[in-house]
Symmetry: C2
Subunit: 494 residues, 2 copies
């Protein structure tokens, strides 16, 4: 239905984005925030048609899609607020000391936008991590034009959202080129976008193969650019002994829900559960298996994701030492992901790297460690993760501090006695983590700190007050927090 | 005199660093800061022998080296203060809202250290950007062990500084492996260090070729790691017309000093001066030439740097359309860099990319533009820079706003009516810039914000107050600034 963008079209879009950048980056924080809020309003006004289209393209249920659109609107509104508030600008002012030898000049630093940002939307979040999602919202807040490469699994939904953004851009008198929307089922479109000299950063949510490819292209450019790819995570859950003594059954129930939520199609899906061999773990596995058999298979996002789920799951299940515990007792129909639990010993896991890989879907592997030493080996063998969870009493944590230490080094979010699914949109959220969870552990893609991915510091030395940007002026006309001579302050300079 | 580190030695050092990391990252901010201050004290106590060694190895004059060591001590002390103050931790706390649907969990985020950092010292700063320099100080503040690859041009100085650090480590009861010092004239040592799985980040100051090589190695790892390489900059200076009307002669004198300071061996050396053809520029060039003839050649850091200077300068001078304006009238002796000024038209510069490259040494090229349109073309053609300078009246800046706009996009520090040489150590400093000035424009290598290069955020979800790190506890026992429910505060949580 939609044709792939041609090279001349891409060239034209990037030229427009570059022109728009020079206008947009000088627009006030308030103007940017108003634009973001206008996008939110447009999305709200899109009504049922958009939801129906998304349901048809993604097989996701109506309530989930309505919630996701509401979340997308909340993201735009809360990042707009953060944009205006200006904490993210990291303003530092050091005033001159002329009597110093040599004299100390007046220097004032703030973050400025990088330039046009190319965003690759996610298959599993047609709204919140796609066309008007977190990457787009934070890039716009930073002062960067956005070019969307629509996800080929939901091109019509993406087009509807893009139209809403373009309406908002018109209403807010944004420069042409502030936002562009391109289709591209072929990888050539993405490659051309990343290699274009006017592209200054990339946002991506998807597979490890896809994200790593973008990262490599970006680094092989004449001028390398940052890629923020959120890719692969199995989100390990450690069941510690004291906690297991009393709560094995409750935890099994809790995790059956988390593993199968949204047909397991969340990047924070718990794909690995690690416990200590013994009667508590046997009870946990039994209960978890029983719960899973009752959960009905459901249609996955699209055929490719379903086929990939089946292939990766089958591959995992046929590894030596891996036993199936349970699967849904209801027979799946076409493209339906069937909830499945398997188990393996600590040794099996430690000696087989294939079992460390993500199986995207409603699947989880329970690892039975023979002792705490082996559990620690498993923890130390873990690759970078978006999240790691401990199910533990306070005592467990104090006694098994080496497990805690190992986990701190591999994850972006460290959860205690809860489930990793569910990513709260707030400033304290870290949705990111060491590679291969993402390509840059120093940033995350949820919460207003994500704005800083698309900005860099510039220091103005020896400028007169009148010529400085408002953010750096003596009067502090925007009323933002600034570090003045090493102290945080909202005051005007004397 | 010093043997290159062998692969088993490197393996051993990295194993030790990894062990040390697990101890050091949990030491308090105060303990880290005390260690940094102890290093400063040791350096102070090293006295004359260290200065004499550095003079012999680098050919730099005594006063310069004394100042540089004092600066290094200041860096350690001021970053220690910043480390303890904790602003760099970017603490964010969002408290739970149990009545929300779904309930909002308690989430608290802070920066944690990446792990062992490999630092490649600079040839041109044996103290301030080398063994105990900015990269080492900021990595230690972040909580990372440091492995130094000594610069082969000053191995003895580097060894003396390393010994001072190791003394301080012992006095402060730091874990073995907190700091290591390796020699390596061959690139193999650097490659092995970067490819080691326990290396988590790299700091580098040097050439574009060197830095780009490290960057590529780091990105080709199974688990890519960040490289902060400060590399190449010609630090363009734009002479705007109104300013030139009255101050051409003074500016020529000022710039003769800046171009030849330290035999031009600063990364912020002004290598390119851009003006408008006419009698003012003629006067400027004439005065600048006259000043330059009077400045004596001086011995460069080492033979390779001298040979490189001569080669790159000769290459630039023999380009079609490039004319020599003046050189020092005093004949240079062995390894002495002779101050030299050349000139070319705007068209010559625009059509010859070789002239955009850094000539490391006391050399500058004056570009004569035929009109402001051509000057804008020159500005737009510029690669990423550490600094760009405007010599301009307020009027100039308002009229020629397009030049200002072009410059904002290419530099890390934007200077008005001064010289780029001289990098103040303070929080507002940005010593960094778009590629090829550095490999990551989002960070700089001077000022306490540089600590953040070696840290990444982690969010603790649903942890009880007792189990949290001090930085995140309700009581705020460290008294640091934290963003609590979106508002900056030093208060304890109620």
């Amino acid at each position: 239905m939609f044709k792939d963008a041609t090279l001349p079209e891409i060239e034209n879009v990037m030229q427009q984005a570059w022109k728009a950048f020079h206008v947009y980056r000088k627009m006030s924080l308030k103007h940017r925030a108003d634009f973001m809020r206008a996008i939110a309003t447009e999305l709200e006004g899109c009504g049922d048609a958009m939801i129906q289209t998304a349901m048809r393209e993604t097989n996701l249920p109506e309530a989930r899609l309505r919630n996701e659109r509401a979340r997308t609107i909340y993201q735009l509104e809360s990042y707009a607020l953060a944009c205006e508030k200006g904490d993210w600008l990291e303003v530092r002012i050091d005033t001159a000391i002329p009597e110093k030898n040599p004299p100390k000049p007046d220097i004032r630093k703030m973050l400025v936008p990088l330039g046009p940002v190319v965003v690759f939307g996610a298959a599993n979040f047609p709204f919140a991590y796609s066309t008007a999602g977190g990457d787009t919202a934070t890039a716009l807040a930073a002062g960067c034009p956005v070019i969307i490469k629509a996800h080929p699994a939901h091109p019509e939904t993406s087009q509807l959202v893009a139209d809403a953004i373009l309406h908002a851009a018109e209403k807010c008198e944004m420069p042409d080129g502030i936002f562009a929307h391109l289709h591209g089922a072929s990888f050539e479109v993405g490659k051309a976008l990343i290699e274009h000299p006017y592209t200054k950063a990339v946002g991506f949510t998807g597979s490890l193969t896809g994200g790593k490819q973008l990262f490599d292209w970006a680094n092989q450019r004449k001028v390398p650019i940052p890629v923020f790819a959120e890719m692969s995570s199995i989100n390990p859950v450690f069941l510690l002994p004291e906690k297991m003594k009393t709560e094995a059954a409750e935890m099994a129930k809790l995790y059956a829900g988390s593993i199968t939520l949204g047909v397991g199609q969340f990047c924070t899906n718990p794909g690995l559960i690690i416990g200590l061999e013994g009667k508590e773990l046997t009870l946990f596995v039994e209960k978890l298996g029983k719960e899973i058999t009752k959960i009905a298979p459901a249609t996955m996002l699209h055929t490719r994701i379903f086929k990939n789920y089946r292939k990766k799951k089958d591959e995992a299940l046929k590894q030596s030492g891996v036993d199936i515990v349970a699967h849904s007792e209801i027979k799946p129909t076409l493209n339906q992901g069937s909830p499945t639990i398997a188990t393996a010993s600590g040794q099996t896991f430690l000696s087989n790297p294939l079992l460390h890989q993500e199986v995207f879907g409603p699947y989880s592997l329970v690892i039975r460690c023979k002792d705490m030493k082996e559990m620690l080996q498993v923890a130390n063998k873990m690759e970078g993760q978006l999240t790691t969870t401990l199910m533990a009493t306070e005592n467990d944590i104090r006694i098994h501090d080496k497990i805690v230490d190992a986990v701190v080094n591999i994850c972006g979010r460290f959860i205690l006695n809860s489930v990793p699914t569910g990513v709260e949109v707030c400033l304290s959220m870290q949705h990111g983590g060491p590679y291969p969870a993402t390509t840059d552990s120093r940033f995350g893609s949820v919460g207003a700190d994500a704005i800083k991915r698309f900005a860099r510091p510039i220091a103005f030395q020896n400028w007169s007050n009148d010529l400085l940007p408002d953010e750096l002026k003596n009067e502090n006309p925007l009323g933002i927090w600034r570090t003045v001579n090493n102290e945080l302050s909202k005051e005007a300079l004397g």
